[in-house]
Amino acid sequence: MADSRPDPSISKPASSDVTGMSFADILLLPDVERQVVNWMLRQPAACSLAAIARQLNQPEDQVQEMVRSLIQRGFMREVSDRGETCYQLCITSMRSRRLAPRVSQLLSDD
């Protein structure tokens, strides 16, 4: 008969050591925020508020609110670029999936 007890070699995934947003988070953003993030992903450098506002075709004060919200959630950060305040995306930097030690050992014996 099949053993229905949990397999001790399979551990629960450890919580990821994450900062910032993941690409999966991007898909969950409201439309306007997602539009900005998608655009910023493809920019070579940090973006000014004016550039973001131009991209969205919205007034800067409205965009500032949205940027502030993204910063508060850890998805964006403020940086200084040649004395000008600009914004950079914070993409999740490290993601780890822990395997149970026995499984790791078995797979590592090469």
Binding site: L27, R34, Q35, M94, S96
Partner: protein, 257 residues
């Protein structure tokens, strides 16, 4: 940085790596400098098509992601050793650099279990483009929706989604196209692969375009020669006059910005 092209499929077995290798070969024959990154860390394979024994190489993508080397240290000029086409590529000024993923079990598990800095991967793409003066960077992705494929899609100018005429692929492709549109990828195109010879190609193209509302860049029939080749080498170089090769050349043309 040139054109970043992600080649993706929702499910495995669609012929993605073969399409990537053939695209790279046809672009290089036209004189373009092409990079290929095998980001399928869990099941690497495209190196086989180029005859590269990854167990003999010094550095792989895994080493770069783990911070052991610069990204260009893991880039190998695989065009110069191609039996067919290598010289023609060189004469045209074309080249193919492959950044392979490791085939060593402990290297695979190390990256999967420890994770890696996502920023390092995206930085690596940029550095490859600059340092190797690439016209195209082709990203061969792992099947399905996962963090790595989302990352590749998110930074790509072009996404090629490969599917077979198969109902599991149809459903999965719908999801992939939806995600791709939400990531605002500038160019999304479909390639329907492994189509049986008695299928109506025009009809398939029309149906796919209507269903997914994205252009169909190619409908590639299933040929015995491709099956028999079994990824031993690159089809376009082995059979330069074959109708499938002509279709692959036409597909490569559509990647030009």
């Amino acid at each position: 940085m040139g054109n970043i092209v992600s080649i993706h499929s929702f499910r495995g077995g669609t012929g993605k790596s073969n399409v990537v290798a053939n695209l790279a070969a046809n672009l290089a024959l036209q004189g373009f400098r092409v990079g290929i990154v095998d980001t399928d860390i869990q099941s690497p394979g495209i190196h086989v098509l180029f005859g590269l024994d990854v167990k003999q190489v010094t550095y792989t993508l895994n080493d770069y992601l783990l911070g052991r080397c610069a990204v260009e240290d893991a880039a190998f000029d695989v065009s110069q050793s191609l039996a067919q086409g290598g010289e023609k590529m060189a004469d045209a000024g074309g080249v193919i650099y492959l950044i392979p993923a490791s085939m060593k079990v402990n290297e695979i598990t190390k990256v999967l279990s420890e994770g890696y800095d996502v920023g390092r991967l995206t930085q690596g793409y940029e550095q490859l483009g600059d340092r190797l003066r690439l016209d195209y960077l082709l990203i061969d992705t792992h099947p399905g929706i996962n963090e790595e494929t989302l990352l590749s899609m998110g930074i790509s100018n072009t996404l090629v989604v490969i599917l077979r005429p198969d109902y599991q692929d149809y459903q999965g492709t719908a999801l992939t196209v939806k995600v791709a549109k939400e990531l605002d990828i500038p160019n999304i195109m479909l390639v329907v692969n492994k189509v049986l010879p008695d299928f109506d190609v025009a009809d398939i193209r029309q149906q796919m375009q209507t269903t997914y509302d994205v252009p169909v860049a190619a409908v590639l029939p299933l040929y015995d020669e491709m099956m028999r080749l079994g990824s031993r080498s690159i089809f376009s170089l082995q059979y330069p006059q074959h109708p499938l090769t002509h279709a692959l050349i036409a597909l490569a043309t559509q990647l030009k910005p």
